[in-house]
Symmetry: C2
Subunit: 136 residues, 2 copies
DNA sequence: CAATTACATTTGTATATACAATTATTGTAT
DNA sequence: ATACAATAATTGTATATACAAATGTAATTG
C-alpha cells in the first residue's frame, strides 16, 4: 500500500484506539468524551459563562449536536443554561458545582490513562509528534 | 496544558479533520467511510469470499455494525452474502462487479484527496510519522 | 418603520455506533 | 446420543452524529 494511504489509515486506527481507551475511562462516570469536552471548556471559563457558539468553536462536533450535549449535561445537573439578557438570541452556559466536582473526580484517572496511552513516548518524541501534526 | 494531554487532543482534532475530508470526498458516491473500507477489504480478497469476522478484524467497528454495513452494501448491490456451506454459522461475502466499478471510480479521486491532505509532508516526514504512530 | 437579511440556537430526521441479548450452528465431554 | 459450552452472526435498543429546515431575535436598508 502506498505510503500516504497507509499513513492516513494508520492515523485513523490510532485515533480510534485512543478514543476507545478514553471512552472506557469515562464510562463509569456515565459521561461521553464530547460531554466531557464541553465541561472542560466551561471550567476553562473560570466562572464566565460561554455561548453555545463559543463552545462549538472549540469542539469538533456540529452546532446542533452541541445543543444536545448541553441538554444532556443539564439533565445531569452539570451545567446551567440561561438566555443572554444582552442578546436574547444567545444563550449563556455555566458549569455547576456538581459539574466541577465530577471533573475533579475524573482528572486524576484521566491523567493516568493519558500516561498509559503515551507510555512508549519520550518527551522529545511527543514534541516531534506535535510538530508533525501541525503539518495537517 | 501539559504535553501529553495536548498531544492526545491534537491527535483527535487532526484525525477528525482527516475523517471529514475523506467523508466529503465519498459523499457524492453515497457511501460512508466504513462502507468504503468494507469494499476495499473485499477487493483485497481477489475473488476469495470473506467471513464477517474476517472483515471485522480488519476494521475498527463492532461485529454488529459490520453486519449492518454489509446490509447497506447488499442493498446497493455492491456485495453478495451467502451462508457458508462448510460451516453454516459463517457467512461468505464477496464484492460484485458493481462494487468493483464503484471502487475504481473512487480510487483516483481519493488518491488526490490523500495527496491534498498530506501536501505539507515530505516523504521522510511520513516515515517519521508512521514510526511515531507505531509507538501507540 | 416595514421588509429583508443576518445571527444564534433549536428541532426533525436519517444514519451510525455501542452494548447487551438472542439465534443458529458446531464442537466436546460424559 | 444428550447436555453443555463455544463460535458466528444477527437483532433490539439507546445514544450519537450529520445535515437540512425551522424558530426567534437583532441589525440593516430602502
Amino acid at each position: 500500500m502506498p505510503l500516504p494511504k497507509r499513513t492516513l489509515i494508520h492515523m485513523a486506527l490510532v485515533a480510534n484506539k485512543i478514543d476507545e481507551e478514553i471512552a472506557t475511562v469515562l464510562k463509569p462516570f456515565d459521561i461521553s468524551i464530547q460531554q466531557f469536552n464541553v465541561l472542560r471548556i466551561l471550567r476553562g471559563q473560570n466562572g464566565k459563562p460561554a455561548n453555545l457558539s463559543t463552545i462549538n468553536e472549540r469542539m469538533v462536533t456540529k452546532m446542533s449536536n452541541t445543543t444536545r450535549l448541553v441538554d444532556k449535561l443539564i439533565s445531569k445537573d452539570f451545567v446551567n443554561r440561561t438566555v443572554c439578557l444582552k442578546n436574547r438570541r444567545k444563550v449563556e452556559i455555566v458549569i455547576t458545582e456538581g459539574g466541577l466536582n465530577m471533573l475533579n473526580k475524573i482528572d486524576g484517572i484521566l491523567f493516568e490513562a493519558e500516561k498509559r496511552i503515551l507510555k512508549n513516548f519520550a518527551e522529545a518524541e511527543l514534541h516531534e509528534l506535535n510538530e508533525l501534526l501541525n503539518k495537517f
